[in-house]
């Protein structure tokens, strides 16, 4: 399963999503769990879980459950598990959106990340069962209800892990609203070229666009993922070239050149880069709500 996921991740998720631009960014599989922050944060959360699991079993002996209406409990466990899955998915979605990674801002990445969190949580639960039940009483002592209870534990721990990691990540990555609003401002202000030529309104909006560039540059500098850092560097380089030009070249970089036969290669390259960056930023500001 993990090998399959790794292959999928290497191939990229975006092929199935027509709104996301084609890209050549690289990515590490662990970033779907860590979002570019150190894995020690995740390890810390897992260790805390493991201790919690041991204590749970300690006070819940005998571990196998016997109830009068097992089907009812199975339905209850399943419903609660699904609730936990949804909560995990929502937190994972938020972390993916805040990761500033062009590779992680799509539903494919969100689902894979959610699955990985459940795999980690499932590993903890299975370890607990192996150590505390299978090793002591044998496999036959585990009934169907136990399996659904394990599912409940797994989804609950995945949620705890996700929420805990989201809390760790909070101080390192920008809020979703700030990221999306700044991108929206940047895209809107890039319309300065449509203002009447050589007017104060055009110069004011150009200034607003350059201010948006600075603001966005500050936000993107918070990227911790490999793809996020690469994108941040691309944006930084583009902004720095853009600001070195004067008005006419800036306009050509944003608008492109209209001549049928000739063009300035340098400005054409910068224009293509602008279009690519704009498209990726719009991908990053897509709201899934």
């Amino acid at each position: 399963m993990i090998i399959y996921l790794a292959l999928v991740l290497r191939c990229g998720f975006n092929k199935g999503n027509p709104t996301v631009t084609e890209n050549n960014y690289s990515n590490h599989i662990h970033e779907y769990l860590t979002y570019g922050l150190g894995p020690h944060y995740l390890l810390k959360a897992i260790i805390v879980q493991f201790v919690a699991l041991l204590l749970t079993y300690q006070f819940a002996r005998p571990l196998t459950i016997s109830v009068s209406k097992p089907n009812l409990f199975i339905a209850i466990y399943t419903a609660i598990s699904l609730t936990f899955v949804v909560v995990t998915l929502l937190f994972v979605r938020n972390m993916c959106r805040r990761s500033i990674s062009p590779l992680m801002h799509n539903w494919g990445a969100i689902i894979i990340s959610t699955i990985l969190y459940h795999i980690v949580a499932g590993t903890v639960v299975v370890s607990g069962y192996t150590l505390l039940i299978v090793a002591v009483r044998g496999v036959n002592q585990i009934n169907t209800l136990d399996l659904f209870l394990s599912l409940l534990f797994t989804t609950a721990f995945a949620t705890i892990l996700t929420v805990g990691y989201h809390d760790e990540l909070d101080e390192y990555l920008p809020a979703v609203e700030r990221l999306e609003d700044t991108i929206d401002d940047w895209v809107e202000n890039s319309g300065w070229v449509e203002e009447e030529d050589n007017t104060q309104a055009q110069r004011d909006q150009l200034q607003a666009f350059e201010d948006s560039c600075d603001e966005l540059r500050n936000i993107l500098s918070n990227a911790h993922t490999q793809a996020g850092k690469e994108f941040s560097e691309e944006f930084l380089n583009w902004v720095s070239s853009f600001k070195e030009h004067n008005g006419q070249a800036k306009e050509l970089v944003i608008k492109g050149q209209k001549h049928n036969k000739g063009s300035n290669q340098e400005l054409r390259t910068e224009h293509e880069e602008f279009q690519r960056i704009k498209s990726r930023l719009q991908d990053l500001s897509i709201r899934y709500d």
Partner: protein, 170 residues
């Protein structure tokens, strides 16, 4: 668009300037204007002046405010002026209208030196290049004078920039 006036010589450099290309085919003297522009840029002294070639579409040639923002105009004689398809260009090139310190270089591929002299008599405020070498020579002279690496060049750039701002109402 030109962004601002230059209030002093200190703010003139570095300066980015444009090489306006008016041509239908985008080529002249057996080369693309892009390649000719690259060779012109290679001949510029110092690193205080950056030159960008700008290909203006001929269907929008009446947009004088856009043309004015370029200090060097490269005009393909046979494609733009010979057939008088763009009469507004004649008025833009009139000595009383053409901005100070700007340079219009008309490029003619047929007729050589004699033809060049004939065109120069018609368009008094222009230089006429009849080969790659004469084109490069005219451009080099212009960008030697119009170059903020030295004080007189800064004064020219400032004066040209502010004259254009004046004309554009900035």
């Amino acid at each position: 668009m030109i962004e601002e006036r230059y209030d002093s010589l200190d703010v003139v450099s570095p300066h980015e300037q444009y090489l306006l290309v008016l041509s239908e085919s985008g080529s002249c003297f057996g080369s693309d204007f892009s390649d000719l522009a690259c060779e012109i840029k290679e001949r510029i002294n110092g690193d205080e002046l950056t030159v960008q070639e700008y290909f203006h579409p001929l269907e929008d040639v009446t947009n004088s405010s856009r043309l004015l923002q370029n200090s060097v105009w490269l005009i393909h004689w046979e494609e733009c002026l010979q057939g008088e398809d763009y009469p507004c260009l004649d008025s833009f090139l009139d000595p009383s209208m053409f901005p100070n310190y700007a340079e219009a270089i008309i490029c003619t591929e047929d007729g050589g030196y004699e033809k060049a002299k004939e065109i120069e008599r018609e368009y008094k405020r222009t230089s006429v290049a009849y080969s790659r070498d004469t084109l490069f020579a005219y451009a080099k002279v212009h960008f030697s004078d119009f170059n903020p690496t030295h004080t007189s060049g800064k004064e020219r750039v400032k004066s040209w920039n502010n004259e254009i701002c004046e004309r554009l109402g900035i």
